[in-house]
């Protein structure tokens, strides 16, 4: 067997299999850095007052009580449904208002419909909006204007907008250039193009994305109830676990949340499979 001129050898004379391309290199570095940071994380964790074994056994017991003997004790079934309704209501309001606002902002953000500076400005502002966790928005609005459910909706609204504008504007950008050009050639105004070309050809996408966001917002609304006092089933969960220490009630509430979340997931999976030809990632 002869050695070929294309063979790369390592310093020790062994034949190298490393193709040395940048992709491989970046992936290896990413994995390496994440591994190191993980080890550092475990070394620097604050383990005060933790007895791992005891905690694990206790958690197992707690989970057993929660999931095998769920019960409501501090409020009635009708009250529970009412609270779930509040959570769904908060999620719905944030989603529907978000969708309407996002539609207009997405028009401004879509590269094929808007001016470059406008599109960039919208994107940068939204990147900032997204960087602030929802719970901080809600808490800030709660003190800023002393609002109740308005603060929760407003806080959730901001993240919904950031999410939907990205999805919507990408959908707009995929509209066939030819359609827009043809309409423009007939002398149609910008709004004509939006109403008669852009909206009809992206409508199913927009509604599907909006529903996907509703699914996310349900989870967010539960979280806001628990962490920001926004009411609803999330708040009851917080009370049951942090105030009454009633595990069986926590279990029952978790089951209710789980049930709704799974129903929403099934529905959005259906939408995804039917209306998104290629896989669309958030």
């Amino acid at each position: 067997m002869q050695a070929t001129t294309y063979m790369k050898r390592r310093r020790d004379g062994r034949i190298s299999l490393n193709s040395g391309n940048q992709v491989q290199h970046v992936m290896q570095m990413t994995i390496l850095i994440l591994t190191i940071l993980t080890i550092v994380a475990f070394l620097f964790f604050d383990y005060t007052g933790l007895n791992f074994k005891k905690a694990l056994v206790e958690t197992a017991h707690n989970l057993q009580a929660m999931f095998l003997e769920p019960a409501l004790s501090h409020f009635s079934w009708s009250e529970a449904f009412y609270q779930v309704g509040i959570t769904l209501g908060l999620a719905f309001l944030a989603t529907i208002l978000g969708a309407i606002i996002s539609f207009f902002l997405a028009l401004a953000a879509a590269a094929n419909l808007s001016k470059e500076w406008l599109s960039k400005t919208v994107r940068i502002v939204l990147a900032f909006v997204r960087a602030v966790p929802t719970v901080l928005w809600v808490l800030i609005f709660a003190i800023a204007a002393g609002l109740g459910s308005e603060a929760a909706v407003l806080g959730m609204l901001l993240h919904s907008i950031a999410y939907l504008v990205k999805a919507f504007s990408e959908a707009f950008e995929e509209v066939d250039k030819g359609i827009i050009e043809a309409l423009r050639a007939t002398g149609a105004s910008w709004w004509h193009i939006v109403v008669h070309a852009i909206l009809p050809s992206t409508f199913t996408y927009l509604t599907s994305w909006t529903f996907l966001r509703f699914e996310i917002n349900f989870g967010v609304a539960v979280a806001m109830g628990a962490a920001a006092g926004a009411g609803g089933i999330g708040f009851e969960l917080f009370m049951a676990s942090g105030f009454y220490f009633d595990l069986r009630e926590v279990g029952m509430i978790t089951y209710m949340i789980l049930l709704i979340a799974i129903i929403l997931e099934v529905m959005s999976t259906f939408l995804k499979n039917h209306y998104f030809p290629e896989t669309v990632k958030n």
């Binding site: 970046v26 990413t30 620097f44 209501g89 309001l93 929802t134 719970v135 901080l136 308005e150 979340a261």
Partner: protein, 262 residues
């Protein structure tokens, strides 16, 4: 004629769609006691309040070292939760995949575990774990970990099922073992997509960590809660800004990685 009928039908559908949405919006407003006019009316006031109160003062800057320390703790917690979840999700993902999974029962099991851990909100996990693990980093870590396993498993299953399976057939024909095929054909092919999802999960977890921190009294969420409750608004502003900077920095970094590998 026919065209007219279609048009009328479509018009009716649009009307029904709008009516249904309006009814839902109305019901939601009633049940949540939400008043949109009130909301809009107070918005300017709120913005004025934010700009006049949420300002970083020199005094608050003295707290910066503590805040940075908490921030690093939070970021590390998010990364650790994500990376350890990745290992579990990889196994569950292979088990749950329709194309390379070995048995139906294991596949159903993997998808069930993923669905359960994903659909129980992170707050619920945080509150449940808080009861026995108490107020320390590990509680937050575990809450994020459980949620990440659910999300990553679903993403990995999708990535694996979408990747071309032709090389799997070829390797089977050479006499390679199942584990060799997974390790040398399936994973290398899916790795860029998987890394992209892991980076996305880290970004999400840093935001969620704030939430979990408020509930479990750890990390940057705890700092925020502390300043918020003591009405130390410059402190609130500083914490918020540092979170924003951290999130944007990590987003930029991972977008850079994505650009190269995808």
């Amino acid at each position: 004629m026919n065209e007219n009928l279609v048009r009328i039908k479509r018009k009716n559908q649009t009307v029904i769609f709008i009516v249904v949405l309006t009814v839902f919006t109305y019901l939601s407003s009633v049940i949540t006691d939400f008043n949109i006019l009130h909301g809009i009316a107070t918005l300017p006031e709120a913005i004025v309040w934010i700009f006049s109160n949420l300002v970083i003062t020199e005094e608050s800057l003295e707290r910066l070292p503590t805040i940075v320390e908490k921030l690093i703790e939070t970021i590390l917690m998010s990364i650790a939760a994500t990376t350890t979840a990745t290992i579990f999700s990889l196994i569950l993902g292979v088990m749950g995949s329709k194309t390379i999974g070995t048995s139906k029962a294991l596949g159903v099991f993997a998808r069930f575990v993923a669905s359960l851990s994903r659909n129980i909100p992170v707050v619920a996990w945080a509150l449940i774990l808080l009861l026995s693990f108490g107020q320390n980093s590990l509680t937050g870590y575990l809450a994020l970990f459980v949620g990440s396993v659910g999300f990553l498993t679903r993403s990995f299953i999708e990535v694996i099922d979408e990747a071309s399976q032709s090389a799997v057939v070829a390797l089977r024909a050479t006499g390679a073992t199942y584990v060799q095929i997974i390790g040398k054909a399936v994973i290398p092919e899916c790795l860029p997509q998987m890394i992209s999802w892991v980076l996305f999960m880290i970004e999400t977890n840093i935001r969620n960590a704030t939430l979990v921190g408020i509930l479990t009294g750890t990390g940057i969420g705890y700092s925020f809660d502390l300043y918020y409750k003591t009405m130390n608004y410059p402190g609130v502003a500083l914490v918020t800004i540092s979170i924003v900077l951290a999130v944007i920095l990590i987003e930029l970094l991972s977008n850079h990685v994505r650009k190269v590998i995808l």
